[in-house]
Symmetry: C2
Amino acid sequence: MKTLALIGFGNIGKKVFKLVSEASDLSLSSIVSSQNFDSSLPVYKNIKDIPHADLAILCTPSRLTPSLAEDLLARGISTVDSYDIHSDIYDVRRRLDAIAKANKAVAITAAGWDPGTDSIIRTLFEAMAPKGKSYTNFGPGKSMGHSVAARAIKGVKDALSITVPAGQGLHKREVYIILEEGSNFEEVSKLIKADPYFAKDDTKVRQVEDLSEFDSPGHGVWLERQGPGIEGVKHSFEYKMRANNPALTAQILVSAARAALKQEPGCYTMIEIPPLDFLEGGKEENIRRLV
Amino acid sequence: MKTLALIGFGNIGKKVFKLVSEASDLSLSSIVSSQNFDSSLPVYKNIKDIPHADLAILCTPSRLTPSLAEDLLARGISTVDSYDIHSDIYDVRRRLDAIAKANKAVAITAAGWDPGTDSIIRTLFEAMAPKGKSYTNFGPGKSMGHSVAARAIKGVKDALSITVPAGQGLHKREVYIILEEGSNFEEVSKLIKADPYFAKDDTKVRQVEDLSEFDSPGHGVWLERQGPGIEGVKHSFEYKMRANNPALTAQILVSAARAALKQEPGCYTMIEIPPLDFLEGGKEENIRRLV
């Protein structure tokens, strides 16, 4: 049985805790959280204090994740994370790759649903129709990464970002914010729209008193690719997902943990991992059942 | 540039020929076919006569494929095939694995759309919802494997098998046959229904004079998985594909050829291959673009 550390005990961390507790092939040995709560496991405030584990599942905000992963990998603790800043993923992968290899550990980064399982679908669709055109349409649903990014803006007390599909891979952002006392809405709105998370999209910011009426854990994606027609038959590929967002991310992190324990040292994105490795159970049984 | 041999020049083989001829990263060096035709490449009747190649793409009937792959692997020529008899895939994989390893070659078997890319989707859906339930609904469309199997039955002059989705993963087979002179329809029908390709499905056999009116290269699949609901949000995953059947199989074989040239010696099914490896182009560029 491999020992796992859980880093972060928020929305996703709590769901990872539940999944790993129910799993027969994984065992949680410690938790890192800034919050105080009762637990049968030792809870640490700082990752430096945790005892050695085979792997750590990082359920921390994306911006904190790479340096936490570096610290863990440097101790020979493998990591999985759902880092989601698309433009920086390759560079994070490269940084973690060097440290992982030097310390005989494995890192899987960007292991969520997008980036993550959607990336696998995009790759697979391209293998089936190299000359086609793909569109990823998100939502409607709350984006956790974008909500955290909006919350981190100076003057924002709390925020919620909803992704709305606009067709052909475009999407709008609707950001609901509660202002810090004394801060100016126009200034805060400008800062949010200039943030790398929002700069490329049509972003609307609205000031509200209560976020709960806009809050649902549901999210979804519709991924489509059209290839050129051949002999009168058009090639078309579609993938649709609807799920509880943090619950799906938590499940993908746990599946990525299973995969990480099977890889050679280094850092990987999900498209670099054999899909079979994400599953529990024997290789032969799974191949016989799924192929 | 890697050299490729094309084994078989039927429906799929001709499309593989076109795809490889247009590719900038692959080069065809020989063809094996029992038919006579003009070609700028050397055409051989027997695989024993082909010069060494890095890899051979097998576009031969499934039942002939494993032993042809064995002969090629024994010469150190890597192979990809779209062997599609689900119940035997694991055993074929095991046979080819030993020979591939002994001769430092790579085999990818069952590389079509089902088994093949559908297998990857089934695996991915299970990684996202381990407790869910998956259904693979085929068609409507011609099944090449089933048509070949029906054609191989004693008394059948020509045959065409159409797969019709019956919901929740069940499907019906409609087999249109032209009888050999002097053979008995009832006997032939019984033999078809008892064949491993048809024995598990609701199979209807119909005698016709002309197959062409039932013949279309279009095929499709609808793959669905439902996971348990969490906090009022149901988890649901769907994949739909519609394509020219031999053209899609040909493309998947070519993508598998690219992947085979990147693997360590041994035999693999598609779910054992990192999806990124199926693509042409640089690793960094593809990760930046697709993750």
